[in-house]
């Protein structure tokens, strides 16, 4: 793979070929600039996961040497990993960008949502309300998300520009056709558009790009020893936010996280991949999707993601 060089050269002559990472990068940057030009108040949804980290990296490139012209927003369940909070705050101060934190705890305290109880309790679903409330409160009319089409089959039907009505709902049967690189961001007041600049990236592309660009990611993506329990065929980390049932056994395993989300529903995989290149090897060889392996939220039903997305989820 061509890395480092802007284009490959053949006997010193230019051949006008872009590597797939450069082509994906160009497409994403085009989308960032288009949104910055046509929307009044865009915001970049930042979770501290690898996709939003790559998205942020691309956003900084799109407007260099100026600062990116929109803030970040973290929908914080309060149940995240400490390493991720630390990463978020460090990155924000490095870039000097504004961070808006919308807290699920606040939504619970104000009675907008009710906390789930029981062993499978998670704040994952509650995020939708917090997200939609925050978009409305700040008047954001475009929200960049790091979702990729290869992640999940409902997402395979997503557009780069995904229209949301004034309830934040997605209507997959009635989407705007998207042709060439001409994006239609028109909307009425109260409606907004979700923007997915990474639509055409795969999990492998993300890791290859992280390697090529030498992008820093939270340490929990790399193999480490951790106390976990086996639940629903996944390794769940022992945190303050999960309740261990009597029959569940706590053990120490060498694991890493393939996705980073709410600690109550994001499982780890057993791994000894301690470097980005080892992760790339692992991802290339793996036979299970990242969400299938590690996300309890997508396993709830066959159309779990579609249902949540219709309501306004990420």
């Amino acid at each position: 793979m061509v890395v480092g060089a802007l284009w490959s050269t053949l006997d010193g002559e230019m051949n006008y070929e872009l590597s797939h990472l450069k082509a994906l990068q160009a497409e994403s940057i085009h989308v960032f600039r288009e949104v910055a030009a046509e929307f009044e108040r865009p915001v970049l949804l930042f979770s501290g996961g690898k996709d939003s980290i790559v998205m942020l990296h691309l956003a900084t490139k799109a407007f260099w040497p100026a600062r990116m012209p929109f803030p970040l927003m973290h929908i914080d369940t309060g149940h995240n990993f400490a390493e991720v909070y630390e990463y978020r705050d460090r990155r924000v101060s490095e870039l000097g960008v504004k961070l808006v934190v919308a807290s699920v705890q606040d939504s619970i305290d104000s009675g907008r949502v009710v906390e789930q109880t029981g062993p499978g309790a998670s704040r994952n679903q509650l995020q939708t309300t917090t997200l939609l409330d925050a978009l409305g409160e700040h008047g954001f009319d475009a929200a960049f998300g790091g979702a990729r089409r290869d992640e999940e089959r409902a997402r395979a039907k997503e557009r780069f520009y995904s229209f949301r009505d004034d309830f934040g709902q997605w209507d997959p049967k009635n989407q705007r056709p998207e042709l060439w690189s001409l994006y239609n961001g028109r909307h009425h007041r109260g409606e907004h558009i979700r923007i997915f600049p990474l639509s055409n990236w795969t999990e492998l592309d993300i890791w290859q790009y992280i390697e090529t660009e030498d992008i820093d990611v939270p340490s929990i993506y790399y193999a480490h020893e951790r106390e976990v329990i086996a639940r629903d065929g996944m390794w769940l980390a022992i945190t303050d936010f999960i309740t261990v049932a009597d029959h569940e056994r706590v053990e120490t395993r060498q694991v890493r996280f393939r996705t980073v989300g709410d600690a109550t529903c994001t499982g780890a995989v057993e791994s000894d991949a301690g470097t980005v290149s080892a992760i790339i090897d692992e991802v290339s060889a793996t036979r299970i999707t990242e969400r299938g392996a590690t996300r309890a939220d997508d396993r709830a039903s066959e159309a779990a993601m579609e249902d949540r997305k219709r309501e306004g989820y990420f």
């Binding site: 061509v2 910055a36 039907k157």
Partner: protein
């Protein structure tokens, strides 16, 4: 590794999903949990075999009704290329979906059932592929196993299709006899077709030359966004950001900016990797000029002796994408072309084209959903365009309903009215 986008056209009956399933499966891009989920659903639906179409049909309604509603995008990679498949459904809203999927495709695969030969829909798909200027067309003659791998049958189809294709503007046409179900000539060349001298489908996808399909002659940079850092380090920096839509730009090049007509020189080209000595499509860059001139979004940077047409009167083939409304003379719509948005008045519909027979109906005065016609538009501001056949980026536009904000039309520019 290069990236290639291709569109597949055909209905479930042609074995399109089986073919995509096989490409994904053989390139290890289908994962166990996806396969298991699809097997579960197939069983619940009472099917004998795992229906690989369920892999791409991601929405609940699609699975319930057994139809494909929308374009689905699928990804796979081999050591040679990364592929993006735009899987377009064959039946419901076929034209709208295929036009969408075809608009960015480097190649289209048209599936033909060897038993049935060239059908109306094969002709329709091929016509749309040629209208959208997909540079490479592959006719995959599928289900060869069901015609005993007959060379004679294959040749008949090649001849029949070739006769029809001669009426289209197709530059690169390749025929491949395959069986998606059995795997013949999909990944490996098959021993069942010793009479076939060509390559397997995957080999063709991996090697067909696509980097010269882009326009590398007519330098075009539609200004997307003006970058002014206002920082101490970059106090005087004024960069014009955009994606190169044609040609090659270099520092030192003489340029002219439309619509003002001001001339200047390129001082520097900044890319995501830093300053570059050349930029070409589809790179996203930021250029600075040697002179301070007033440039904003929607302007076009080009070379003094190679400028796009600048006109408010445009003739184009338009595909109508809207269910509820139709296009008629007198209609007023918003038009988005490169980074420029204007309003447009429909002056005339010259004819409507029958996508099955290529017959031109000059009596027609409206375009409804999935219909294609030749249309004359007058815009509120000049657009800077090239013929679509010369440049897909500067030759295309979309039409937007100003009341509903929906995307209602897709246009391919022919030129200015005679």
């Amino acid at each position: 590794m290069e990236m290639m986008r291709f569109a597949t056209a055909g209905s479930v009956d042609d074995g399109k999903s089986t073919l995509i399933g096989r490409l994904l499966f053989d390139s290890k891009s289908i994962f166990e949990d996806q396969l298991e989920a699809v097997a579960d659903v197939s069983e619940r639906m009472g099917l004998d075999e795992t229906n690989l179409a369920l892999l791409t049909d991601g929405l609940r309604a699609e699975r319930e009704q057994g139809i494909t509603i929308d374009v689905a995008y699928r990804y796979f990679a081999t050591p040679k290329r990364k592929f993006i498949i735009a899987d377009t459904p064959g039946h419901v809203q076929y034209t709208r979906n295929m036009v969408t999927g075809a608009s960015t495709a480097d190649l289209a695969i048209i599936l033909i059932d060897a038993r049935k030969g060239v059908l109306e829909q094969s002709r329709r798909h091929s016509f749309i592929a040629s209208l959208l200027r997909i540079p490479h067309l592959v006719v995959a003659v599928n289900k060869m196993d069901l015609v005993d791998y007959s060379e004679e049958r294959f040749d008949e189809i090649v001849e029949e299709f070739g006769h029809f294709a001669s009426k289209l503007e197709v530059t690169d046409l390749t025929f491949i006899p395959i069986s998606a179900l059995k795997g013949d000539n999909v990944v490996e060349r098959s021993e069942n077709t010793p009479w076939y001298g060509g390559t397997s489908l995957l080999h063709h996808l991996e090697t067909v030359h696509i980097s010269s399909d882009r326009n590398l002659i007519d330098a075009r940079l539609p200004v997307q966004y003006v970058i002014r850092p206002h920082s101490e380090e970059f106090h005087d920096y004024r960069g014009y950001a955009g994606s190169i839509a044609g040609g090659v730009l270099k520092p030192g090049d003489d340029v002219v900016v439309l619509p003002s007509g001001f001339a200047s020189k390129i001082a520097q080209i900044d890319t995501p990797e830093g300053p570059a000595s050349e930029a070409f499509s589809p790179m996203a860059v930021t250029v600075t000029l040697t002179d301070e001139i007033d440039i904003s979004r929607g302007d076009m940077i080009c070379r003094p002796h190679n400028q796009p047409t600048s006109s408010q009167d445009i003739e184009a083939m338009v595909c109508w994408l809207s269910e509820g409304t139709s296009l008629a003379p007198g209609s007023k719509v918003a038009i988005k072309h490169t980074t420029r948005t204007a309003r447009a008045l429909v002056k005339d519909i010259q004819y409507r084209l029958d996508v099955n027979t290529l017959h031109r109906d000059v009596e027609a005065h409206t375009l409804s959903l999935n219909e294609i016609g030749r249309v004359t538009l007058r815009t509120t501001q000049p657009l800077f365009f090239d013929e679509y056949r010369r440049n897909r980026e500067t030759g295309s536009f979309i039409l937007i309903d100003e009341a509903t904000n929906n995307t209602i039309g897709a246009g391919m520019i022919i030129g200015t009215p005679q």
